[in-house]
């Protein structure tokens, strides 16, 4: 190569290098703000068509959809209703393309019911995972938990937990919780145990706070319920209100409900929070 040619090329190289370097940094900065102004988008495709289009790349497409949802969620923005819908849609599509993928149901359970109040969508994804991952007790456990915690449907929760407890390797406590949830008598203690179990298996701080709050509420309600039962044994009738428990010295104070509303006594003598 001639010297002149070399120097020209080298100068051009330096020029493009500088241009590229500056543009690279600017593009990265600008896209940091811009990219997720675009927010998340999901193709409004019916699952069967998506599956057909993905062909042999079903797994990769599922991974990609999940990545799209996860990277959006990692953007630390406050998504709106439409965007939560998109995230749920991406997770649903990913779950259909690859129903064995653990990551999908874990993200769905960790995000959708807690932040987006998408309970039905979460349970649909979990049920799909539960059907396919026959060796995994967790989807069933989460289904039970969601019925118990979000829908307050103890019998559905009990049924799901009972089913999950049959999976080889499932913790024996699942069966205990299931049977106690089924009987009204043991509801409070089983609820506390169940919440504690979920609390232990959760890493997300936000969820931990919510679970802790619920545990406190249930524990207080349990104490009040014991006092109501004691009152009923002593006087042969139900107290008219929780204040009556105070008047008769069965409790020292009515605890503050962490949900910022008073504990109430139903007509059949059950303490609600």
């Amino acid at each position: 190569m001639k010297h002149k040619e070399f120097y020209t090329l080298f100068s051009l190289f330096v020029f493009f290098l500088i241009l590229f370097g500056i543009a690279k940094i600017r593009v990265a900065d600008l896209r940091e703000e811009l990219n997720y102004r675009l927010r998340v988008s999901a193709a409004p495709l019916p699952p069967s068509i998506l599956k057909a289009l993905a062909g042999e790349f079903k797994g990769v497409v599922a991974d990609y959809l999940l990545l799209e949802a996860a990277s959006f969620l990692g953007g630390n923005l406050e998504p709106d209703e439409r965007e939560w819908g998109m995230v749920a849609h991406l997770l649903e599509q990913s779950s259909i393309l690859d129903p064995y993928f653990k990551q999908t149901y874990v993200i769905a359970q960790g995000i959708l019911p807690w932040h987006a109040e998408k309970y039905d969508e979460t349970i649909t994804i979990l049920e799909r995972s539960n059907r396919h991952r026959y060796w995994d007790w967790r989807p069933g456990f989460f289904i039970g938990f969601n019925h118990f915690y979000f829908y307050k449907d103890h019998s559905a929760a009990s049924a799901a937990l009972m089913e999950a407890s049959l999976v080889p390797g499932a913790p024996p406590t699942l069966a205990t919780w299931a049977s106690r949830l089924a009987s009204k008598v043991g509801q409070y203690q089983s609820a506390i145990d169940f919440l504690a179990g979920m609390y232990e298996s959760t890493e997300d701080e936000h969820q931990k706070r919510l679970l802790k709050k619920r545990m406190t509420a249930v524990q207080d309600a349990y104490r009040l319920q014991q006092a109501v039962d004691q009152f009923s044994d002593q006087f042969g009738r139900l107290p008219h209100s929780l204040d009556e428990l105070l008047d008769f010295g069965l409790i020292l104070e009515i605890p503050d409900n962490p949900y910022n509303r008073p504990y109430t006594l139903s007509d059949d003598g059950r303490v609600d929070f």
Binding site: M1, E5, L9, L12, F13, F15, F16, L17, L19, F20, G21, I22, A23, K24, R26, V27, A28, L30, R31, L34, N35, L38, S41, A43, P44, L45, P46, I49, L67, E68, A70, S71, G74, G75, N76
Partner: protein, 267 residues
Amino acid sequence: MGQIWLLAKITFKEGVRNRIIIGILFFAFLLSLLNLIFAQMFTYDLSKVSVDLGLSMVSIAGLAIIFFMGINLLSRDFEKRTIYMVISRPIARWQYVLGKYLGLILMIGVSVAIIGGFAAGSVKVIMHLAPAYVPPDYSWGIFGISLLFSFLSLLTVTALAQFFTSMMTSSYIALLLTACAYFIGQNVEIVRKMLSGSEDFSTFFRIFLEAVTWIFPNLSAFDLKTIAGYGLPLDTVSTIWSALYGIGYIGLILILTVFVFQRREVG
């Protein structure tokens, strides 16, 4: 300049001789039909679907040209030894590199224009059939810019393809490397963004990923399909910087290709 243009014309003609233009026309026609049928499968955002599909087809066709014809065309000179005929003439090697590149991008430019035109036509038909789903701020200008950026993305991949072809003796390996670079380029931003919010990855991995973003082009910066489809506002500053980014990257790769080619023992 005359030499470069001559080589570009030869390369372009070689592409035309491969009947690639007829293939592209056929593809564009099929795409328009597919677009008309496919968009009807949706209940919402029909025009967005058609824009998406149209612009994606432009990219797919461009990539197909690079992978199936471009790399073949570039490596054929080495494999069939026709390179001797070229370098024995008074053509500098940098002129050879630029001429070949120019010829290829002419080829790709023509195909982008043809398929882009057909795509725009089918989008127009769908908008006419379902006017309720045309985004309120839809702009054909942004559609055009998006098309240009798809072209820029293809130019970047072509530059990489030429770089790998001049480096490797086997066109198959060059093809594999180009395909890898393309996939990394498409996903590197999303992966980096995902990991930047997580504490679970080691510093080494983060540095490695940062290095990857400097080596491979961020092709997702050239993807304006969503903006075009929904008629979203286009950020001018960001668009200009993205274009400069692409041009800078292509310039660097071409010069590196020239350096590699200068040092390559031909024969």
